[in-house]
Amino acid sequence: MNITKETVKHVAELSRLKIDGEFTDVMCNELNAILEYMNTINGSVNTADVDETPDAVAVPLRADTVMPSLDREALLANAPERTDETPIVPKTVE
């Protein structure tokens, strides 16, 4: 199986990566090399009998007790563009 440039572009869009020009070809070739290798190996491994039920190791449960939130200033200090209360993004509605 070969993945096409269109597939690479679609996957890039899902990943929010701008892949264009020469880089599309490079990525396409490299991904194909990896996938080709994977396909060969995967095809030779019989996994028909493998049990897929999740392991029964229980996730720890936390008590429903309010803990102090982090100071807003500390949380927002790293935001590259922000107001006093929130980060800023380009408007998402018309």
């Binding site: 999740p54 190791v57 229980a58 996730v59 982090l70 949380l75 209360e85 993004v89 408007k91 998402t92």
Partner: protein, 477 residues
Amino acid sequence: MWETVIGLEVHVELSTKTKIFCGCSTAFGAKPNTQCCPVCMGLPGALPIFNGEVLRYATMAAIAFNCEISKTSVFDRKNYFYPDLPKAYQISQLYFPIGKNGKVPIKVGDTEKVIRIHEMHMEEDAGKLIHSEYDNETYPDYNRCGVPLIEIVSEPDFRSSAEVIAYLQKIKSICEYLGISDCKMQEGSMRVDINLSVRKKGEETFGTRTETKNINSFRAIEHAIEHESARQIDAIESGERIIQQTRHWNEDKRSSYAMRSKENAQDYRYFPEPDLLPLVVTDEYIESVRASLPEMAESRKQRFMSDYALSDYDASLLTASLHTAELFEKTLSKINMPKEIANWIIVPLQKLLNERGKTLDDVSLDPDNFAEVISKVTSGKINRASGMEILEAMVEAGGKIDVDGYIKEHSMEAIDDDGLIVDTVRKIVGANPASVAEYKGGKTKVLGFFVGQVMKELKGKANPAKVNEAILKELSK
């Protein structure tokens, strides 16, 4: 003839004190980003820790919706980019949800029907986006990120908006009785997405469906269903094909529009959340939750019938919503008049609320106040019409007013002066000899005529019991 086929995805916000994966408060209405931490804001290196109370609430719901409960369920990541989702994935459940194959019985008119639940799972809520009115900017507020939700996915079992509304009211009632959510559509603590398709009656295969989102009230649900099924029928009848798409409902304009194609071409790439181990519940756990379930609508209805001698009809209406049942019982603890209270709730109060498009969620009627009004009427301190007027004022004021003050202000006190009542009765009786003769001739119906005349003379304010008594006395002379 066309048939509308509807399936619902209902999100219910759980009312735990803390978020699903961190200890931040879930309290409503805080300043933006003040109920956040590295976990719910998706800072690098932060990890989720699951809130055990969410599991308990979800298990309660799964039991109440008659679901099979998975002994081992798994959290999955749903991946998509949006500024209200700081990790760019939502922790949800897809492959192994907590509940499967549930059943919710509903009743529309006299017809009973069972709606099948495909699955029920737990997930985290996203944040809120605040849009600037002046600039081309949007401001993410992450306070709601990580508030726990359950999503209840039905099979496509609905054929009308009435069925949908009955089902949603049932879901809401169950969640309220369980105490796991307040289910307020307007505040977003209950959200409904409608999957709808149409087909010719008698056809077995489903048509292509659309999903309608952004519906914020029961009324809007009705509108959206009517609109979307009409839109699809029109399209098919004019030779178009229905496109599978997500549509955004606008209640103000009573119309919907298709979301951009990018939003329609989502590929969420679900996979098991590696930061959390599987969730294991034992039979003992499920049984302990079952044993601790609060009294639900059906058993409360039975109790109302046996303890208070109410009819099946009255008891059903009173217990359909927890708020109504609670108002009834709390009022009853003040004045022991079950039938009277039931009548007040079922007729005038319900009418007042319906006229305003409200329910007892929105108007939390004070039981003391309510009891006061009823007892003033039954004891003849005010007449029934004044009682109704006061009740209306209470609803308008959001549930509570100064009853005595209101009566005084509107001079509603009943005329209790025996002398005045007897004088008036004598005057009326004296002025209507023909009617007196009729009465004496056995036509007791004219009694009503005398009462009416006396009340009219006294501007409707006389204590009716006393008026009745005085007329009988006068006529028997």
